[in-house]
Structures are given as C-alpha cells and as structure tokens.
Subunit: 342 residues, 2 copies
C-alpha cells in the first residue's frame, strides 16, 4: 500500500510503463524492452504489435530506470563556455553527429565560468553520463578532482595539453607563429596582439608567448598587446584598436584572438578612415562565417572544429579499459586562410 500513488500529482509524466504496455500487448515486459533496445531480437509481428500499443498509450521508455538497471547511459555531456559564435556551432555539430553514429546523445550545458562548469559537471556525473567533454584546460580545482576520482572519461578540447584525462586540439602556438610570419612577409613591422582578459586569459597566454617569440625571431621589437574585457565581442575590437593606436601610432598590423574582435577592429577602422589592409593589416581567429563575408574579408586561422568534435567523441567512446593510461593528445590541425585584410 505504501508505494501506491507516490509519484501521483508529480510533474504530469506519462502514466504508461513498460508493464502496462506489456500487459496490453499480451507479452512479457522483457519483450517490450527488447522491442525498443534490440528490435532484431523480437519477431516482426510481435514488435509491430508492441509498437502499436506503445504508440497508443503514449509510452516512452523511462531512461532513468533503464540506465539504473543497465548501469550505463548513452548520454555524453558537453559543457561549452558560450554559444556566441559559429565555431562552437560546428564543434557541437561534430559532437552530435559522431555521438549519434554510435547511438549516443549529446546534452549541452552552458557555463560562463568555472563555477558554473563545476555545477554542470556535477549534474552530468549525477546522471552517470558516458563521458564529459569540456572546453579548454582551465577549470575549477574541484572539477578535475571529481572527474578523476570517479574515473569519468573526460576529453578537454581546444587544447593540446589536458589537465584531466584525454584531450584534442591543435597547435595555437604554431598557428600564431604562421600568422606573424605571414604579416612580416607582407612587410608589416609594428604588429600588435589583441586577446581577452578575465577567466579565459590563460587560454591566450600561449599565443601571446608565441607571438612575442616569433617577432623576436624576425628581428622585430616585442610587439604591443592589449587584453580586452572578455564579455565584449565586436566592441572589444574598437576599444583595443584605440588603445593600441594611442601607444603606437605607427601600428601596421594586428593579430586578433577571434574573428569577432577582428571584425570590431575593421568596423572601427571604417569609422576612423583607416585603410585595411593599406594602413593596417588585420587577422582573426576561428574562421567564423563573418570572416569570409566582411569587407575586407579576413585572413584567419581555420581550426578543424568539426573534426575536433568528432575526435572528442571518438576518444570518449573508444572504451579504453578503466585504469589504463589515457591515449595521447590528438591534434586535428588548422589552416591559415589568407584573404583581403592582409
């Protein structure tokens, strides 16, 4: 008598259970289960009957129960810092497509900072996700501890040195170096760098170091740099350009941390009457859609974002035996796309 009516008024979930479907279809619960999970194990005719009854009753298998019973969920949790740009769009598509091919689902959670990321990790761990995909290698201290303690398969993306388990990315240093060489080859001598400050700052530290190093190798003075506030997008470009021009009126090239910043720089140049690339060469990062469309079109770095998503899933679901050493970092490469802005 106790259990009766426990989940009564609840959220209005469907009243249909596997039991009920089984009874209505005149089969055992296991046959219903098999119909949904391993259709080939059930005879055509039986399956059709079960599906018909299920449809009529509006039955949708309870994944929580299934997961609890089977001990494995087919959900991959992806935590992304923002959905502001098309780079992440392609990345997520890569994740979803690859996961779908293996019969898994991707659930996304947005996290603006390490705190929110940790909360999302907790939730995904609570659901006993099959794996978790993070962006970057800067996390809350507890995040790594938690994931490791639970042996949760984890992939950090957009980086080549993971802090937790596995990772996939590309060489931002090499890309930055190529950018610098490209600008130098175009005759630029006073080159600036625009990144973001705030929580993501360290993601740009490697790029900044490579930038300085390569400038030195080219025999040029250490360039200028400006770190924009991370919440700003296009506006950051404007702000940064003003700051850099004040410090170096002869600035003739600027390397931006994202295409959006670069777009902001170009818009600011249009307002100030600065000719791009005549007076100032501008480069972006990410090859967002705007890069090819803006006037002048943007020289940028095109990471293989979609492949990164696919590779992350591949690593996650590769089923390495627990306790084994993590596979080595994967590098999906990038491409320098040269356009009108340089």
């Amino acid at each position: 008598m106790s259990g009766a009516g426990r989940n009564g008024a609840g959220g209005g979930g469907s009243r249909a259970t596997m039991q009920r479907v089984a009874a209505a279809a005149g089969v055992s619960p296991m046959t219903v289960s098999n119909t949904f999970r391993y259709p080939e194990r059930v005879q055509e005719e039986t399956r059709a009957r079960v599906l018909a009854v299920a449809a009529e009753l509006g039955y949708v298998p309870n994944l929580a129960a299934g997961h609890l019973a089977s001990g494995s969920s087919r959900v991959v949790g992806a935590i992304i810092p923002s959905i502001r740009n098309s780079s992440f769009y392609r990345y997520v598509r890569g994740l979803q497509d690859a996961a779908a091919e293996q019969g898994h689902e991707v659930m996304i959670s947005l996290a603006d900072d390490a705190e929110q990321e940790l909360a999302a990790v907790r939730t995904f761990m609570g659901w006993r996700a099959a794996g978790i995909v993070l962006v970057g290698s800067e996390h809350h201290a507890e995040t790594a501890a938690l994931l490791r303690a639970a042996r949760m398969p984890t992939v950090e993306t957009w980086v080549r040195r993971g802090a937790i388990d596995m990772c996939v990315g590309f060489s931002v240093e090499e890309a930055t170096r190529q950018m610098v060489r490209h600008l130098v080859a175009r005759g630029r001598r006073q080159i600036g760098f625009i990144g973001y400050s705030g929580g993501v700052a360290r993601r740009f530290a490697d790029r900044l170091a490579a930038f300085r190093d390569e400038l030195g190798a080219a025999g040029l003075a250490a360039g200028l740099d400006y770190m924009a506030h991370e919440a700003d997008g296009f506006a950051a470009g404007k702000q940064a350009l003003e700051a850099l021009l004040t410090r170096a009126p002869g600035l003739d090239g600027v390397i931006c941390a994202t295409d959006v910043i670069a777009g902001g720089v170009i818009f600011a140049c249009q307002r100030r009457g600065i000719d791009v690339p005549g007076q100032l060469a501008v480069t972006g990062w990410g090859d967002y859609e705007i890069a090819s469309e803006i006037v002048p079109s943007l020289t940028t770095v095109r990471p293989r974002t979609r492949d990164m998503g696919r590779t992350a899933i591949e690593l996650l679901l590769s089923g390495r035996e627990a306790g084994g050493p993590p596979p080595p970092p994967r590098d999906v490469g990038f491409e320098l796309v040269c356009r009108e802005s340089t």
Copy 2:
C-alpha cells in the same frame, strides 16, 4: 549471485553509492540522502561527517536513481534550432538563470530540423524532464502528439500562438508593420523583404503577410520578396540582394529576416558601391551584437530575448494542475532600434 558485477566494466562510473557512504559514515542511507536533499533535516555535526566521507569517496548522488525513486526530475529540456547567433545565447541564459533560481537545471539539445527535434523530445521525455522548451510552433507531427499524450509541460517560444501547450513570444506582425512604417516615413517606396526558405519558412509567413499588408496600407505596390536558403547566413544577404536588384533596380529599402542577413546585404552593398542608407535602407532583426557595430549600424528589432527565456521557465514551473487549461500566451514585447542603416 546474478546482480553481482552487472555494471562492472561499464563506463567507469564511480563505485561509490549512498549505501557505501552511509556505512562509512556510520549512519543510515536515509541520512545521507537527507544530507544532500534536505540539509536542514540533519544535525550540523552528522551532516559534516557525511559530507566529509562523501568527498573522500568521490560520491556524487545518482540522479537517475533519485529521479526514479522520487518520480520527479529537476531538469528542463531546451531544444534550440541553432546556436549561430547571440539572440539564442541571451535566450538560453534567461532559461538557465530562471531555472537555477528554482533549483532546476537546463539541458540543451541542438536540432537542425523537425526530425532531430523529435529525437531530442523523445530523449527528454525519456528522462522524464520536468518540462520542455521548444522554439517556434513548427514541429514534426509526432512531436505534438507525444508531448500532449504524456501531458508533458511544454512551452513554445518566439511565437504567440502555440500548437502544443503554453507559449511566449512577441508580435512579429506588429514589429514588421513598424519596420515598414519606419521605412515609408523615411521616404522609401520600393521595399523588399528577405526571409529564409526551407524548414523554417513558415516562421516568416506571418511577417511576409504583415509586410505586404502594411505596404498596401501605405498605398505602395506589393513589395518584392526573396527567400534565401536557410543554411546560409551572411551569404544569403548577398545572394538575396542580387536577386532583388535584378528584379527591381530601383529598390530603395530592404527588410531582412535576421541581422545576419542584413549584415550580408550591407557587405554586398560595400562591394557593389551601393550607399547605405543613401541608396538603400537596410533593416535587420534580432539586435545581435553585430547590429550596433557594423558600419553603418543597423536598424533592427530587439526582442526581449532574455525575458522570453525567463518567462518560459516561469510558465513551465508554475505548477498548474495537470489537466487544467494552459495559461494564455505571454507577450514579452520588442523594441524598434533605429540606427544608421535607415
């Protein structure tokens, strides 16, 4: 003997269970459960001990089990068609913030078409989400049937007439009319409309009708319209502009379905040497960040995206008794933002 080692090699989930934590802390499982769900029911001292043990064992409560036992999950499923633009970013933030305030989580799934949307709905229903938030009112036939059969609380957003349960949006007709009146007041006489074709086409039907109607009211000839392929963003603007100019060389105003299309139109104008707004006035839709930054800055419609997200959660978690009539559609309004492009 059967159950033993069932979920053995599995995905590598944590071995820690509530039982084990309880044993290690010298309390009953219920005390552990209460420690996590209703801390105030457990004495300070006991709670601290339980939490310490849990942390040491890397225990994270199994939400699937909890959900199964309690019959209610604290997850809201949000399905969005794209994460390409910042409008959805603000919308999702609204969802997440409002949900967090009520102790719920938002899980996001990306769906490019009705098929994928249906799959995502199935998954969320499988997890017995507390509610589901969709974008628009165009769905797979089965989607509505499924949601209704299960009495799943559902909110359709960005529309004022829901097809399933509840909805929140703003008047796209009124916004479109105001756009037309604005252009007419600026002396424009040959005005075109650029929308998207494909699966989302019907989302623009209302706008197109309002556009035509308002042109008529102003005593102008029925305008031109062009439906771009939905996968294109900025590129669609270029393509559409070319098509419209071929059909009407005297075109002096164009209303675009999104800021991205409008951006594409402006870029195309820059390449063709068309002065905006001198020769051609351009309006966008959405007030994405680019709208205020592009040169010339863009006249656009600013929906209260964030409020829309918040309102959706409010509707979802308002706890109307099952079977009751759905609350009336909510209108969060919009704002016409006039800038340089007109």
